[in-house]
């Protein structure tokens, strides 16, 4: 189903992509298609999405095919979801990998749910890693870049210099733009007190950007962590980053367009609501309330470990991950709207101990704050994207 090979220097870029996506979530999808091999990741509260698409010419050789189900003749893609913990250690110490690895081969075994990664190193050393994967259909996000009023293209160096100003304790960063200047600053709440951390800001003039188009003066706040992931990757590719954004609340897109690959990160931004000053916990609660408002037919589902729930649903039917809003809109098109799956979604969201929800206020569910015309999440295979004009999506 998938068979590809790359050289040592290509392994470094591939490994950087995995490291960048590891900042978003603990899982990633390996999604090969005729367009190339895509690595996708969505975080648990759906506020950040990352996708790196390696075109076939990136690899030394690239073969892909759909598998045909024996029973009913339906074609299916490789629905491969890997745990970051299994794959990240393989691509550790990228500099030494670049030096030592001559060829890296990645292929799947259709009989077992395994991805085999083989590193052929110097001195005749061959390392083989068999990584088990879960069957799971990948998510994709289609984002209408063209509708964004503000576009900035900048060398990653400058952005990295700005990000280093902010400590790891400061989860959120605000980007304030006017036609005259761009300011990157720590996000402040209305009442800063003595125990708050350092407030930092950095001004960057328009001439430092390779492309500068500001249609509307705006200030958007988003999580630093995922941006750092994108920066790691862009420094490896030496390509500039393009940022597309609009008003607060609308997700922002970070994009790298390179001959051999394309990377897209979509991050949720904090909405300018009256409840903005509320604590992250109440944000979590309001999401919870929304979830419970939706019809939820299966009341038998008790409080189980959410991971356990996921594996149950997977055995039941091929799982499609949707936000409940989209589910309710396109429920007619769904072919397996199992109640268990809806419940699983809300259970995942409700996790009180989820550290990411508590810390970063910009963790609005991407789907909740966005009108559907701008962007949507869709299952790649079965459903067309909702918007008429394709955005950057891979599907």
């Amino acid at each position: 189903m998938l068979k590809c090979g790359m050289s040592g220097s290509q392994v470094k870029v591939f490994g950087k992509a995995i490291q960048a996506l590891s900042r978003i979530s603990d899982e990633l999808w390996l999604d090969p298609s005729e367009k190339g091999l895509a690595l996708r990741s969505v975080n648990s509260c759906r506020s950040a999405y990352g996708c790196v698409l390696f075109s076939p010419v990136f690899f030394q050789h690239y073969q892909w095919s759909t598998s045909v189900d024996m029973n009913n003749g339906t074609k299916s893609n490789l629905n491969c979801k890997l745990g970051i913990k299994s794959i990240l250690p393989i691509f550790r110490c990228l500099n030494s990998l670049e030096r030592n690895v001559e060829v890296c081969k990645i292929f799947t075994r259709s009989d077992k749910c395994k991805v085999v990664i083989q590193l052929f190193c110097r001195h005749g050393i061959k390392k083989t890693h068999n990584v088990c994967f879960q069957e799971s259909q990948p998510l994709q996000v289609i984002f209408e870049k063209n509708t964004c009023s503000n576009t900035l293209m900048i060398q990653p160096r400058v952005l990295a210099e700005a990000i280093v100003l902010f400590t790891s304790s400061q989860e959120e960063v605000t980007l304030a733009v006017t036609p005259l200047e761009v300011c990157i600053k720590s996000s402040t709440e209305e009442s800063m007190d003595l125990n708050s951390s350092v407030y930092s800001e950095m001004f960057v003039g328009p001439h430092e950007f390779e492309f500068f188009q500001i249609g509307v003066d705006t200030e958007i706040t988003f999580c630093c962590k995922e941006l750092k992931g994108m920066l790691i990757f862009s420094e490896a590719t030496h390509a500039p980053i393009t940022m597309h954004f609009d008003f607060p609340g609308k997700p922002m897109a970070l994009n790298i367009d390179h001959m051999l690959l394309e990377a897209n990160f979509v991050l949720a931004t904090l909405a300018d609501e009256p409840s903005r000053a509320s604590s992250p916990q109440s944000l979590c609660l309001s999401q919870k309330r929304k979830r419970s408002d939706l019809p939820c037919s299966n009341s038998k589902v008790g409080k189980k470990d959410s991971k356990g729930m996921e594996s149950i649903s997977r055995k039941v039917a091929p799982r499609k991950l949707y936000a409940d809003e989209i589910l309710s809109n396109i429920s007619a098109l769904e072919n397996s709207g199992s109640p268990i799956m809806k419940r699983v979604n809300s259970d995942t969201e409700e996790e009180p101990g989820s550290p990411s929800l508590r810390k970063c206020k910009a963790k609005n569910n991407l789907m909740e704050v966005m009108p559907k015309s701008y962007f949507c999440i869709s299952d790649i295979e079965h459903l067309p994207p909702l918007s008429k004009k394709p955005g950057f999506g891979v599907g």
């Binding site: 160096r157 400058v158 210099e161 280093v164 100003l165 400590t167 009442s191 800063m192 007190d193 003595l194 125990n195 708050s196 951390s197 350092v198 407030y199 930092s200 800001e201 950095m202 001004f203 960057v204 003039g205 001439h207 430092e208």
Partner: protein
């Protein structure tokens, strides 16, 4: 109360950054005292009522511009409390700065504002500002933050290379928490650690002793006689960890069974550190 200062020289900026990093390693929250001719970083000893760390920087060697106005004419000083790491981190971002300005501001609450003019790749300036929250210390608490007096030591001895001591003490930490520091007027310094199973001593010889201030001490004491003090090894390690470079001059003063006092000089910055004996 007013304070504004500017550093325009890269070497001075690096030195100031190194000092603030050292302070950040020695204390989480510390007091910054600003006076017309010097800056002090002070860590008050919570138990003893005295001071456990005292660092002094002569202002003229760092700042090209320096203006301050204290609380009043008689008390021309400013005492503020801040998280040392905030300052060191803010200064570390000023690696390629053209100029750095520090001033006391009041935006919602008192801050030490550090404004940095960075030189970017395209040789244009970029402005970076950090507002570090500080707490102004009221005058009635100033008496706990005064310069400590150098104790009457039983033995004063020059310190060996700090890096060597640090690597030795780091390994000793695994054996026990109580470290004995002993020295004599013959230039010998020993670090001893004991457990049920093992006893480890590291000997440093020919270190030299600074000339003693009072004559009585040198007469009464035989050169071979050791003065010892038992301290918490973690405090000693924390002190050593803060020293990235070997000081220009380092003296260890031991008051038998009471405390050990370290007096270091890093070029023009002096650092004094007190560790009380374990009771």
């Amino acid at each position: 109360m007013k304070f504004r200062a500017k550093i325009a020289d890269a070497a001075c900026l690096n030195h100031f950054t190194r000092v603030s990093c050292m302070v950040a390693k020695l204390a989480r929250t510390c007091t910054l005292r600003i006076r017309p001719h010097a800056l002090n970083f002070i860590l008050a000893d919570p138990a003893g009522g005295g001071v456990s760390m005292w660092c002094e920087l002569p202002q003229e060697n760092f700042f090209s511009e320096f203006q301050m106005e204290g609380v009043s004419e008689d008390n021309n000083a400013i005492y503020v409390e801040l998280a040392a790491e905030n300052l060191s981190r803010a200064l570390k971002t000023a690696q390629n700065a053209r100029a750095l300005k520090v001033k006391l501001t009041n935006k919602h609450f008192p801050c030490l504002t550090v404004s940095i003019e960075l030189v970017s790749v395209s040789s244009s300036s970029r402005m970076v500002t950090h507002d570090i929250p500080v707490k102004v210390i009221p005058r009635k608490l100033w008496r706990n933050l005064q310069e400590p007096t150098v104790p009457d030591a039983d033995v004063s001895i020059y310190l060996p290379v700090l890096k060597t001591m640090k690597s030795v003490v780091e390994k000793m930490k695994n054996i026990s928490n109580q470290l004995i520091i002993e020295a004599n007027l013959n230039g010998d310094l020993n670090l001893k650690i004991e457990s049920e199973l093992v006893c480890v001593t590291t000997h440093f010889k020919d270190l030299g002793n600074p000339p003693s201030a009072s004559e009585n001490e040198s007469e009464d004491r035989s050169p071979e006689q050791m003065a010892e003090v038992q301290v918490d090894i973690r405090k000693f390690l924390q002190f050593l960890a803060g020293q990235q470079v070997n000081p220009t001059r380092g003296v260890c003063n031991i008051v038998s069974h009471k405390m050990v006092h370290f007096d270091l000089l890093h070029e023009d910055v002096s650092l004094q550190y007190f560790i009380p004996a374990l009771s």
